[in-house]
C-alpha cells in the first residue's frame, strides 16, 4: 500500500498530467466540476490545482465537509448536554470552533465545561473509563466515520461501560445528492465523488446519479488521483457518457466494504435530518436503532427545557455548499465572516469553501 500511495504522489507523473490537463482544458471548455468531499476541496487547494484551470474549468466545493453541514440545532443539542446535563463531551477537533449563538465548544471549554478531543472514536472509551461522569461522544461525519462510532458502541457494550453514550450527527451522502438532484440544484457538468465514503459504501451506492445525467467519477486523494479523476471526467463529457466511473480502484469496489456496511446497517437507521444551510433532508441522517437506545444520548437524557433559536437565517452557507454562489457573493464574506470571526462552518472548517477562498484570494490580492 505504501508503494501505491507513493506512486499516486509521484512528482514527475503528476507534473506531466497537470501540464497536459492545463493544455487540454483550453479546448473550448467552460465547465463547472463539483468536488463533493471536503478533503478533495482541501487537497485541490493544497496541491495548487484549484485555480490552475481557470477560466476553462471551475472547481465548485460541494456539501461534503461534515463540519460544514452540522446544523445549529445539532450544536445546540451538544451545548445543552454540556451546560445543562453536566456531561463530558467527546468530539473530533474540527467541531471545536463551530459557533452557535456566540458560543462554541472551545468557549464552553474555557468556562470550565469538560470537552475532550479524540483523534478516533474508539479513544472515547478511555475518556469514559477515567471518569465517573456521563460522557457523550458526538458522532459527526458521513458513512466514513460511522464504522468508528459503531465500533465504539460495540466495545462499550463488551466492556460493560455504563457512562458512555453517543449522539449521532451522522449524515447520509446518498440522500443529499438525491435531494439536490431532485431540486434541480445540481447544475454541474461533472462530479468528483468522495473516495473515503465510497471505500465504505461502494460506488454503486451513488448509482442514482445516473438519472441526473451528470458524469461522475469516484476519486482518491493523492495529487495524481485528483488529476486522473478530472481527466476521466473530461473524457466522459467529450463522449457524452453519463453514469459513474471509478479511478480509485485500489480502495473502492462496486459493493463496498461488506463488514463495515453490516455494522452500519446493524446499528443505524436512516432518519430525516437537518443539514446546515440546506434545511431538512429526507433520510439525510442516521440515528441509532432502538436496540441501542441505551447508548443513545437522545434517549438517555431528558430534553424538557431544551430551547433552540434558529440563527441560520443570517448564514447562506447552503448556497455556497451546493455551488450556487461563490463565497464572495455572500454579503457576510470577509465583512463579518472571517477566519477569526467565522459565522458559518464554511469559514470555520479548514475544509470549508469560504476559508479556502479567503486564503486563495490573498495570493492575488
Amino acid at each position: 500500500m505504501d508503494d501505491a500511495i507513493n506512486l499516486f504522489k509521484n512528482k514527475e507523473l503528476t507534473q506531466k498530467l497537470f501540464s497536459y490537463l492545463k493544455e487540454r482544458v483550453k479546448k473550448n471548455y467552460n465547465l463547472r466540476i463539483m468536488e463533493f468531499c471536503g478533503t478533495h476541496t482541501h487537497n485541490i487547494f493544497q496541491y495548487g490545482f484549484r485555480y490552475a484551470f481557470l477560466p476553462h474549468v471551475r472547481f465548485i466545493a460541494g456539501p461534503g465537509c461534515p463540519v460544514c453541514v452540522t446544523s445549529d440545532i445539532e450544536l445546540a443539542l451538544a451545548f445543552y448536554l454540556l451546560e445543562k446535563k453536566g456531561v463530558v463531551i467527546i468530539t473530533y477537533g474540527d467541531l471545536l470552533k463551530v459557533p452557535y449563538n456566540d458560543k462554541s465548544l472551545a468557549t464552553l471549554r474555557s468556562e470550565g465545561y469538560q470537552v475532550e478531543i479524540v483523534y478516533s472514536a474508539i479513544e472515547a472509551i478511555n475518556v469514559a473509563k477515567n471518569t465517573d461522569k456521563e460522557c457523550v461522544f458526538l458522532g459527526v461525519g458521513f458513512e466514513t466515520t460511522m464504522p468508528g462510532t459503531a465500533a465504539l458502541i460495540e466495545l462499550s457494550k463488551k466492556e460493560n461501560i455504563k457512562n458512555l453514550s453517543i449522539v449521532s450527527f451522522h449524515k447520509n451522502t446518498k440522500a443529499i445528492i438525491k435531494a439536490l438532484g431532485n431540486l434541480g440544484e445540481l447544475k454541474t457538468d461533472g462530479i468528483l465523488l468522495p473516495g473515503h465514503v465510497s471505500a465504505v459504501v461502494g460506488w454503486e451506492y451513488f448509482s442514482e446519479i445516473s438519472s441526473y445525467s451528470i458524469p461522475s467519477v469516484v476519486v482518491g486523494f493523492e495529487p495524481l488521483d485528483i488529476l486522473l479523476g478530472l481527466n476521466e471526467l473530461l473524457d466522459m463529457i467529450e463522449k457524452g457518457e453519463k453514469g459513474i466511473k471509478c479511478v480509485y480502484s485500489r480502495a473502492v469496489t462496486e459493493k463496498g466494504n461488506k463488514k463495515m456496511l453490516e455494522v452500519i446497517n446493524k446499528l443505524f437507521k436512516k432518519v430525516d435530518c437537518h443539514w446546515r444551510g440546506l434545511g431538512m433532508v429526507k433520510d439525510g441522517g442516521f440515528d441509532l436503532n432502538e436496540e441501542y437506545d441505551f447508548y443513545n444520548a437522545k434517549k438517555r437524557f431528558s430534553f424538557n427545557d431544551f430551547l433552540f433559536e434558529d440563527t441560520e437565517k443570517h448564514c447562506i452557507c447552503g448556497d455556497v455548499l451546493i455551488g450556487k454562489i461563490e463565497p464572495y457573493e455572500c454579503p457576510s464574506y470577509e465583512v463579518f465572516c472571517t477566519p477569526e470571526t467565522p459565522i458559518g462552518p464554511c469559514m470555520v472548517s479548514h475544509e470549508g469553501t469560504c476559508l479556502a477562498y479567503y486564503k486563495w484570494s490573498r495570493i492575488n490580492g
Binding site: 496541491y47 495548487g48 471545536l96 490573498r362
Partner: protein, 331 residues
C-alpha cells in the same frame, strides 16, 4: 464574558492579536514593539524569557528540561547573542516524582555546563495535586551580543534567501506520540536541540545575517508569516525544498495535520543576502544539528506581506498564519 481561549497560546494568529490587544496596548515601547525573541536591554546585553508547559514532560528525544534550555539558547541565538546567565522558576504539581524531577534538572545542568551558562537566581513553587499537570518551567536567559551583530534587521530586498536548518514538525509528532493520541511504528525523536553553535559559526564566517527565528509553536508557517508582516515583504517558498521526515509526512497524511504548522524545537529560519547563501549552507551543513539545511525560498517583493507556497506539483497556494490549535480533519 470574554475568556482566554487555548488558541491564545498557540503561536498563531490568535496569539498575535492577544499580544497586540492586551500587552502592546498597555506596555508598548520601542524594545517590546519589535516582537523579537529577545530584547537588547543595554548595548550588548540581550534578555529573553520563555515558559515551558509540555505534557507529558518526557518524550522521545528529550524532556521539558532540555526543551527549556534549548528554547532559551535558541531565542538568544536568534538575536545573535551568546548565552551567559539564566534564572529558573519551577512550578511543580504536588506529588510529582522526585526521580523524574532530578532527570529534568540533570539535563538542564548538562546544557549549562556545555554552554558555560550560569544559573544566578530562581524560584520554586508547589501547587496542590491536580491543579497542574506535572510541572511548568520558566527560564529567563541573559546573553551577550556577539561581534556587534544586530538582529532582526529591518530592510530586505528581492533575492534575499530563506534558509531552513532541518526537517519540520518532528517535535510536535514526538509529543503527540508521547501523549498517546497518535501511534505509529518506527522511531521519531523530537528535533529539540541548542543552536547557538551553528549561529556563532555563521557570524564568525562573516555571513551578513538579516533575520533568524527559531521555529516553535505555529511551525514554519508562523515564522514565515511573522517575517512577512514584520518586514512587509512577499516571500515565495518552494515546497519541494522543505525537508520533511517520512514518518512525519505519513502521520500528517493520515491525521490531516498541516505539516507546516507543526512545532519544531531545533530548527531555525535564517534570511541571508543572495550572495551569502552558498557559504551559509556550507557552514550549516558542517554542523550535525543543521546538516539538513536547505534554501527553501526567497524574498520576491517588498511592500506586501504574504507567503506563497509553490507546490511540488507546479501549482501555487498560500502558506497562512496558523489560526489555532493543531486539529486533525474528520475524514
Amino acid at each position: 464574558m470574554d475568556r482566554v481561549l487555548i488558541t491564545v497560546g498557540s503561536g498563531g494568529k490568535k496569539s498575535l492579536s492577544f499580544i497586540n490587544e492586551e500587552i502592546l496596548s498597555r506596555f508598548c515601547n520601542d524594545k517590546l514593539a519589535v516582537l523579537a525573541d529577545g530584547a537588547h536591554i543595554d548595548n550588548d546585553i540581550i534578555v529573553t524569557t520563555d515558559t515551558f508547559t509540555v505534557f507529558p514532560p518526557f518524550f522521545d528525544g528529550g524532556n521539558i528540561g532540555k526543551l527549556a534550555m534549548c528554547g532559551m539558547i535558541n531565542d538568544l541565538a536568534s538575536m545573535g547573542a551568546e548565552p551567559k546567565y539564566m534564572t529558573m522558576s519551577l512550578v511543580i504539581e504536588e506529588g510529582f516524582s522526585l526521580e523524574k524531577l532530578r532527570l529534568i534538572l540533570d539535563e538542564m545542568k548538562f546544557y549549562c555546563e556545555k554552554f558555560n551558562i550560569v544559573l544566578v537566581t530562581g524560584d520554586t513553587k508547589v501547587v496542590e495535586k491536580n491543579k497542574l499537570e506535572g510541572l511548568i518551567v520558566n527560564i529567563t536567559g541573559i546573553g551577550k551580543r556577539y561581534k556587534n551583530i544586530v538582529l532582526p534587521q529591518r530592510f530586505y530586498k528581492p533575492g534575499d534567501s530563506l534558509v531552513l536548518t532541518g526537517p519540520v514538525g518532528e517535535h510536535s509528532i514526538a509529543v503527540l506520540k508521547a501523549k498517546g493520541v497518535i501511534n505509529f511504528d518506527g522511531n521519531l525523536n523530537s528535533d529539540v536541540a541548542p543552536l547557538w553553535e551553528p549561529v556563532k559559526a555563521l557570524i564568525d564566517g562573516g555571513i551578513k545575517i538579516k533575520f533568524i527565528r527559531d521555529v516553535t509553536r505555529g511551525g514554519v508557517s508562523a515564522v514565515l508569516n511573522e517575517l512577512a508582516i514584520f518586514a512587509n515583504i512577499k516571500l515565495e517558498v518552494y515546497e519541494e525544498r522543505i525537508p520533511v521526515n517520512n514518518i512525519v509526512a505519513s502521520v500528517c497524511d493520515i491525521y490531516g495535520f498541516d505539516i507546516y504548522s507543526l512545532a519544531c524545537e531545533g530548527r531555525l529560519v535564517i534570511v541571508v543576502p543572495e550572495e551569502d547563501v552558498k557559504k551559509t549552507l556550507e557552514i550549516l551543513k558542517s554542523n550535525t544539528l543543521t546538516e539538513q539545511s536547505e534554501v527553501i525560498g526567497k524574498v520576491i517583493e517588498t511592500g506586501k506581506s504574504m507567503v506563497v507556497l509553490n507546490t511540488i506539483y507546479g501549482g501555487k497556494t498560500i502558506l497562512d498564519m496558523p489560526l489555532g490549535e493543531i486539529l486533525p480533519r474528520i475524514c
